[in-house]
Symmetry: C2
Subunit: 158 residues, 2 copies
């Protein structure tokens, strides 16, 4: 990759996200972590990736504050990898990826699972983007504005 073109200093937030979790494994590691996987061997078994790659990815995710290592927990003096809030914040991205597959995949019958709400057990609705006054927005309804300098404005409604 000659240098793999880091987007770390790109001013586009999408590029910046991709720089952090834009490879094929990081997202899947976070997905597993969201479902409770914590241990090296468990990630390795579930994802089937090479251990050296897993090592590198886990370290990168820790460096980026997406995972953190906890000294132990279940007795054994091994390490665990836990999601930080930043890591849990990836959840909507995973949902978006999932829903895109569900909607557009060529062979949806190969998709093994559906996302349901835990309380009722029924499929969830599609992710929705709303304006501040509550209107549902599509790709045509949005625009980009230069970030207002200085003032930070809103930072996380949730």
């Amino acid at each position: 990759m000659v240098k793999r073109t880091s987007f770390e200093h790109d001013d586009c937030p999408i590029a910046r996200s991709l720089d952090a979790l834009g490879d094929w494994w990081s997202m899947l590691i976070i997905r597993e972590a969201l479902f409770g996987v914590r241990r090296f061997g468990e990630f390795q078994k579930k994802l089937g990736l090479a251990k050296n790659i897993l090592t590198v990815r886990l370290r990168a995710l820790v460096d980026q504050g997406i995972l953190k290592t906890a000294p132990a927990s279940d007795g054994s003096a091994y390490q665990e990898y836990l999601l930080t809030p930043k890591g849990r914040g990836v959840f909507p991205i995973l949902v978006a990826l999932r829903q895109w597959s569900e909607e557009f995949d060529e062979r949806p019958e190969e998709i093994a699972t559906i996302l349901v709400d835990k309380e009722k057990g029924r499929p969830v609705r599609k992710l929705e983007l709303h304006s501040q006054d509550g209107r549902l927005l599509g790709a045509e309804d949005i625009a980009l504005k230069p970030r207002p300098a200085g003032k930070q404005g809103k930072r996380a409604t949730a």
Copy 2:
């Protein structure tokens, strides 16, 4: 990358999405396309990637039904790359990536633009996941169920 471990036949919809658009450029190409970019040279200039890679990526995106080529449009007998519905369906994923950056980036001041609703010009709300009966769901409120065999169930509310 030895073979990049295709997830094409994985049964996880997230893996399947990543297989289609999980590299660093495809998402950005789609982002540009959503903002109206259509021509080879335009993509190349805006993204600054090597032309051979752009060629490969565009071809892959066309093969996957995310982009389609239109014979011309502005006179010149060149080609254009247009988003299909499947391509436009990537929009929520891009929004999710963007919002993740906005919320968790270490240096949010480097982010140049904000997403606003075109009508009012105000920042949009965060993406929301709802249950069918309208409750707002977080990562803790969801579960996975095996896909009900045979019956296809819902397919796109939007």
